[in-house]
């Protein structure tokens, strides 16, 4: 009986962590459309909004609008996956923690210790290597710290795709601070160009953080080699540096040149990254279920605790079937606790 209970718990765990999020595709599409509407508002409908404001008013307006791209994304997170949406508070908390962490560390480290404004833009090589090794590493580490210590050990982080969702929320927090700094340093911005740049930052940081979130989700639920997480982190930092280098702007601020072309490029990059990330998640889920079907859920240490009978292994490997079973799953499954792991020494 106890062995069967362990098998059931493990099967439920696998069902949970391999759950796909088809609602996310719709959320991404709606998010992109809403961001385009945000840009259209300030470029075509209200191009002169804020032009009569003083410096303080312009800064205030700019800072309020800096929040809009991130807020639009977070709103659509709430519409995700009607079966088990992430708690509103959790996603918002991660977003806020990222803002606070980035705001607290950015000035003393990037401006105080590294004085990036004095040298980063003096040549293309400094912008590229500084953008990757300093800016990219710093900003992605802020994302990682936020997710790791705000939500990683929480019971709500119970699916592989949660890594992407929470990391994206943290990335949007980083983007918000970058937008804040830009607005304050320039004493307010022209909202037609500024709105485009705010959206560019939100798209770029959100999608890059999603890449890091994939690896965070993997190390949460998989035994990984020691180089797995640093490699994934390195990929995210590399993307951070290269994307902003290609946009011909430092990731510390916003340039005025060719904003519409940058927006299109960034949107394409963001969509491609998110497509790749969720495809990888889908493949990872399939591999997990296939591994379970082969009775390889645990490393065999004691026969009775860890060895699973093939017939008692996790259900069918077909991800579509697992989704179908998820749809009909009773709501009570969603209140299950953290991942069930076999107790040590259990007979």
């Amino acid at each position: 009986m106890q062995a069967t209970s362990t098998v059931d718990e493990h099967a439920a765990r696998l069902q949970r962590i391999t759950r796909d999020r088809y609602g996310l595709w719709r959320a991404i599409a709606l998010e992109l459309l809403s961001l385009l509407a945000f840009i259209a508002l300030f470029n075509f409908l209200l191009p002169d909004l804020g032009s009569d404001l003083g410096t303080l008013g312009a800064i205030g307006l700019g800072m309020v609008l800096s929040l809009v791209p991130a807020a639009l994304w977070l709103i659509f997170f709430y519409q995700l996956d009607r079966l088990e949406p992430e708690p509103k508070g959790m996603v918002f908390n991660v977003f806020v923690v990222a803002i606070l962490l980035m705001a607290a560390l950015q000035q003393p480290i990037l401006q105080g210790l590294y004085q990036v404004s004095s040298w980063l833009n003096t040549s293309s090589w400094y912008r590229l290597f500084g953008g990757i090794l300093l800016i990219g590493v710093f900003e992605q580490y802020v994302v990682y710290l936020t997710v790791r210590f705000a939500v990683f050990d929480h019971r709500e982080f119970d699916e592989r795709v949660d890594g992407v969702i929470y990391a994206t929320a943290a990335g949007l927090g980083v983007a918000t601070v970058v937008n804040f700094v830009y607005v304050i340093n320039r004493g307010g911005v022209d909202l037609d160009v500024g709105s485009i740049r705010m959206v560019i930052n939100a798209l770029a940081y959100g999608s890059i953080a999603g890449v890091l979130g994939y690896f965070i989700g993997q190390v949460k639920f998989e035994k990984t080699p020691w180089y797995y997480l640093p490699s994934g982190f390195g990929i995210a930092a590399l993307l951070n540096g290269i994307i902003f280098y290609l946009l011909d702007q430092p990731s510390r601020g916003l340039n005025v040149g060719k904003p519409w072309a940058d927006l299109i490029v960034t949107a394409i990059i963001a969509v491609v990254l998110l497509v790749v990330v969720f495809w990888l998640i889908s493949r990872a889920n399939e591999e997990t279920l296939r591994t379970a079907a082969h009775g390889q859920n645990f490393v065999t240490s004691t026969a009775s605790a860890y060895t699973l009978e093939p017939t008692a292994a996790a259900p069918a490997v077909d991800a579509a079937d697992s989704m179908a079973s998820e749809v009909s799953a009773p709501m009570s499954e969603q209140s299950e606790g953290p991942l069930a792991t076999p107790k040590e020494g259990a007979a």
Binding site: Y114, T122, S123, L133, Y144, F221, E222, K223, T288
Partner: protein, 222 residues
Amino acid sequence: MIDLMRLLTKPSQTNEAPSANEQWRNDLILLAFVLFALVLSIGIRNRGLNAANSVALGPNFPRIAYPLSWRPTQAEGYALQAINPASPSVFDATLQVSARPLSADETLDLARATLVLERSAALDRYRELAVEAVTVFDGTPAVLSTYAYIADPTRDSGAMGAPVVVQGQDLVFLYEAKERGAVVARQVMVVSLVADAAEFDAEQRDFDIVFHSLKMVRGEEQ
């Protein structure tokens, strides 16, 4: 490629969850990775801060370097002028290099005195703060004088900004241009670096790039 994809999607051969120790191992390794990158970035920062543009001022002039982030501008009467566009003040830190032929029987002290008179006449509230004997180009005597004056940088643009107290340094030396060992020209060189007095200390790093290119060695303050 297949192995890479398998590693990306299923790094473990089992579905066993990682232990808390393994999670902390991941954290520490990542921290080490980040610290390594940040240490490398310090080297990049140092190279960036000291990056300079080296320019030849002409056939009878020495080469001089100024910070890479500074922007050269056109100015009448100067062999070189460059400004720091990132100056936090409305008064941009400025480098100006001027030269004139050395008169007969003119010495370095006489040349400097002439310069001081010109500055007193041209600059509002000009005051010399310090004078220091230095050398340039491996031993050529020079004088480094520090001074201050009042500038009104926004007046020409029609704005009504407050005047600015400017602090500057003039490096005056006699330069002999040589061809095949023979002196072909003698010039009085004046290298001036000025900045808002409130930002003067912060600009010193950029000023040192200019002075280092002239191989300036400080002597005792007079």
